[in-house]
């Protein structure tokens, strides 16, 4: 009979009862860890299982209550601030923490669910959508309004847009961005799965959920700035550095190993997207310098 064990929204694995008893005695497992075996209708704490009752670490004494997850002292230390509650102040504080103090921020990112990083992503995507709509929708509206449609790029999408009229074209660009942004947190699940797969050779300490949380926070914190002209060239590499630090801290992996997984391998295996990005930045900088 094998028993599935989970803690803080991550599955720890499948174990034999003897392993669980040994784990409870050594502190590897906690009485509060959830467990399930075939035939049971739901997951229940290991401490409630008849065969494990009385085995393991005694419940914490009142003097050590401050180290219990969720206690007031620990909540005060929890980072990023968004994990402590949804408010505009916490949203701004989280962006600052991730941008200027990513090491401490991600070192304190605890296990948890997906709802908070998803909510943070949407909070960040809203200003990104507004700025993106103003920039690209505004440019297209202006170009078509003053009869400069010939100056727009010659690709089929632009040709199609220019035939629709200025307002409709701007609205379609804005709507297209809205669709992309609504789907972005979903694509992050896929991106995080790929990231986690790339990190597996280094034996990451955290689960897939932690990879998702680190990815979501590291990318969403910079999202409001990606549509601000010129600033986007600074934000893209900054975001990448924050992501490398995030995974290094969350999974307890050396930063250069994370860089190999997040930068070098995608450069070789994903049609050199990053190389293209860096090449574009360098090319644009060179053109500007001349």
């Amino acid at each position: 009979m094998q028993i599935h064990v989970a803690r803080n929204s991550a599955q720890l694995g499948i174990f034999a009862p003897e392993e669980i008893i040994a784990g409870l005695q050594s502190g590897r497992f906690l009485a509060s860890d959830l467990a399930w075996r075939e035939g049971l209708p739901a997951w229940t704490p290991l401490g409630d299982w008849a065969e494990f009752r009385g085995v393991g670490v005694p419940p914490p004494s009142p003097s050590s209550a401050s180290s219990i997850p969720g206690s007031r002292d620990e909540v005060a230390l929890e980072l990023p601030s968004w994990e402590r509650g949804s408010s505009f102040a916490n949203y701004v504080a989280t962006i600052k923490e991730i941008a200027f103090d990513p090491v401490r921020t991600f070192a304190n990112l605890r296990d948890g669910g997906f709802s908070r990083p998803i909510a943070f992503s949407y909070w960040s995507l809203l200003p990104a959508w507004i700025l993106g709509s103003l920039l690209y929708g505004g440019i297209i509206f202006f170009m078509l309004s003053v009869g400069q449609a010939t100056s727009l790029p010659k690709d089929p999408a632009m040709q199609w847009l220019s035939g629709l009229g200025a307002f409709t074209a701007a609205a379609i660009v804005s709507g297209f961005l809205a669709v992309i942004f609504v789907l972005t947190p979903l694509f992050q699940f896929l991106g995080s799965a790929i990231t986690h797969l790339l990190l597996l050779p280094w034996k990451p300490a955290g689960s897939y959920a932690q990879t998702y949380r680190a990815n979501a926070y590291a990318s969403a914190a910079f999202m409001p700035f990606v549509f601000i002209p010129c600033l986007n060239y600074v934000v893209a590499p900054w975001q990448l550095v924050a992501a490398v630090i995030a995974h290094a801290q969350v999974h307890r992996i050396a930063w250069w190993k994370v860089a190999i997984s997040l930068v070098v391998i995608p450069c070789c295996c994903a049609c050199g997207i990053y190389a293209l990005l860096i090449g574009t930045v360098v090319g644009a900088a060179g053109k500007f310098a001349h």
């Binding site: 929204s9 499948i14 959830l34 075939e38 199609w160 979903l186 295996c269 049609c271």
Partner: protein, 140 residues
């Protein structure tokens, strides 16, 4: 080695029956709109530098053929991507049945700890074989 089981979700577990079908359908919608616009991806840097396809090369052509329901050609361009899409479609179908039936038990794949090493080796071999196929088919 690999075993499918049915079990309830534990508190806080990722809702695989909701997230992956949504990501798959969202991706399919995105691909359909993208291919409709006619916008092309830039040339692969790896291919330009080495003359050989990278592990992702052929993926866009596979997706383009899938959108046009040309499954045979899609498989030949990138068998790996084709397999992922087919598995995603199967999972989406299972998820639809799961939600319609309002099941409480969810399908999960269990990997025996003893088989993990063998599976990793098998994965690398399949990856190399896949790349060999890409080198043959995409450079004909």
């Amino acid at each position: 080695m690999l075993r499918l089981i049915r079990r309830p979700a534990f508190p806080g577990e990722l809702n695989h029956e909701l997230v992956w079908p949504a990501a798959f359908l969202g991706g399919a919608l995105f691909a359909w709109i993208w291919f409709g616009t006619g916008i092309q991806l830039p040339e692969c840097i790896f291919h330009r530098l080495t003359g050989l396809p990278c592990l992702g090369c052929g993926g866009t052509r596979c997706a383009r053929n899938l959108v046009h329901l040309d499954f045979g050609q899609a498989f030949l361009f990138h068998p790996g991507f084709f397999l992922v899409v087919m598995l995603a479609a199967a999972w989406t179908t299972y998820s639809a049945v799961f939600w319609v039936r309002r099941d409480t038990l969810r399908l999960r794949l269990v990997v025996e700890p003893a088989a993990e090493r063998r599976l990793r080796i098998l994965f690398v071999i399949v990856l190399l074989a896949h790349w060999a196929w890409q080198c043959y088919y995409l450079t004909r």
